[in-house]
């Protein structure tokens, strides 16, 4: 869906007025405005979803663990952070 800017619409209006089509544009304007708002809403939702998801993919080894640990880093991507949390407990229990 093409999104017309305010400047584009103004230019179109001027041309339509000169061509005496202003009445037609007046009828079409609410439809155009509603479509434009819908398109902007879809774009804003998309950007918000990407903003939330991207940090999770930016550093997969730093995925947040459960609340027992805020952030876990590991040089073994296939090892779950929970493994290290459990290991920290084991060491404390054995010491």
């Amino acid at each position: 869906m093409d999104i017309m800017t305010e400047k584009d619409f103004e230019a179109l209006w001027q041309r339509a007025e000169a061509a005496e089509h202003a009445t037609l544009l007046t009828a079409e304007y609410p439809v155009w405005r509603r479509n434009r708002r819908r398109a902007m809403g879809v774009m804003a939702s998309l950007v918000a979803v990407v903003a939330v998801a991207l940090p999770l993919f930016a550093h997969p080894q730093a995925a947040a663990s459960d609340e027992r640990c805020l952030v876990a880093y590991c040089n073994r991507p296939d090892t779950a952070s929970q493994y290290w949390v459990d290991m920290a407990d084991i060491l404390l229990r054995e010491a």
Partner: protein, 142 residues
């Protein structure tokens, strides 16, 4: 309105990435060993000891006997069974020290797990919470 929304999203995006990718300065120990192929290396930031106290931990786990032997020599760990524990210097955990209220590393080395844990203790609250947590774990295990 649109510009404000985009700005807010970009700020949130940048803040999130920074939080996830930047190791704190005390991540030097992790970085020192992270490239080793024969070691599993992990850093746990904000390991929960109680409702109000968390600590940062670095773990080194040897993948074979040779790597473990090398670690025990590097950190001056004697014996070949059981668990060894000491308070180490915050910048050089090999050096044994005592609790004076200054930041230290509580180091625990387990022969059976072939693992060394470095528990960073910056203040007395963390020091006390670690002991309480450890006692709680031992009691629950018995």
């Amino acid at each position: 309105m649109k510009k404000a929304l985009m700005t807010m999203v970009l700020v949130a995006l940048l803040a999130g990435c920074t939080h996830q990718t930047e190791l704190p300065p005390e991540g030097a120990l992790y970085r020192h060993y992270a490239a080793r192929q024969d070691l599993g290396v992990a850093q746990l930031n904000g390991f929960k000891l109680s409702d109000t106290v968390r600590v940062d931990i670095v773990m080194l786990q040897a993948e074979n006997d040779e790597a473990w032997q090398q670690l025990t020599e590097e950190f001056g760990i004697e014996g070949d069974e059981g668990t060894v524990s000491w308070l180490g210097d915050i910048d050089d955990p090999v050096q044994r020290t005592q609790w004076t209220g200054e930041p230290v590393m509580r180091v625990i080395a387990s022969h059976s797990q072939r693992t060394i844990g470095f528990y960073r203790l910056d203040n007395e609250a963390q020091y006390d919470a670690l002991i309480d947590y450890q006692l709680e774990k031992i009691e629950n295990n018995n």
